[in-house]
């Protein structure tokens, strides 16, 4: 079965991104396909490479990145939500005249159409948020 995952909240602040990560791992372990993980609202903050969580706690961004690498997951950050909140890749930074970018490995920035697309293509859309 194909799952689409929507993450609406930032890491650490809300358990939503932890739950999404655990669900995604469990779905993959059962042999399901995770077609795309889409990060919306404050969920875009999962995709920053500048986070430095305490050493004795989990690093959610790194967990998403390594899960993506292992399973060729498509991690998509919403461009409009990301701009508002200051999450940029190199192209976006250049386009808006910003002197730095902060997106983490394995994440890509794209439009809301990617959310609608996965909602249509997947068998189930799982929403994790506040």
């Amino acid at each position: 079965m194909k799952f689409g995952i929507l993450v609406n909240e930032g890491p650490y602040t809300h358990e939503a991104s932890d739950s999404a990560l655990q669900f995604t791992r469990a779905a993959l372990a059962k042999g399901h396909e995770v077609t795309r993980v889409f990060f919306y609202h404050d969920g875009v903050n999962n995709g920053t490479r500048l986070g430095v969580p305490p050493q004795d706690d989990r690093n959610i961004t790194r967990e998403w990145s390594s899960l993506a690498k292992e399973h060729e997951l498509d991690l998509v950050v919403c461009i409009a939500a990301a701009q508002r909140r200051g999450l940029l890749d190199a192209d976006e930074a250049k386009r808006h005249g910003k002197d730095a970018d902060n997106i983490a490995e394995g994440f890509r920035i794209s439009g809301l159409g990617q959310l609608i697309e996965v909602a249509i293509q997947a068998d189930r859309l799982m929403v994790f948020g506040d």
Binding site: N8, Y40, G111, L115, I116, A119, I120, Q121, L125
Partner: protein
Amino acid sequence: MSITKRLMYVNRRAPYGTIYALESLEVVLIGAAFEQDVSLAFVDDGVYQLVKGQNTTGIGVKNFSPAYAALGDYDVKKIYIEKESLDQRGLSMDDLQHLTWEDENEDYAEKESMHLVSREELADLLEEQDVVFSF
């Protein structure tokens, strides 16, 4: 893509206090291009999104309520308002924006987009969906 799915957006948050109402509307407007069978439900504090006469000058935040009037142009014409949510808040349909769409097959006749539904009717509608979006 040639699949047509039934997508429902469930709006349960008040506007301005949080961004969910605005960013939900942004999804609806983008999603309209995909030509799916789309509907919107306004439940709980979500009914406040459609209240007429919003004026955000004093809080310095953009007033996005006029954008709901464009939904008809985007072919989003099934808008359900739960009666129980209105009642709890002392509101009636007259307090809300009146959203319509133009039927190009009937010489652009203006038709009703807003549908007042009971909890039972909304429960049935939810059960008919392929995908339910909540933000």
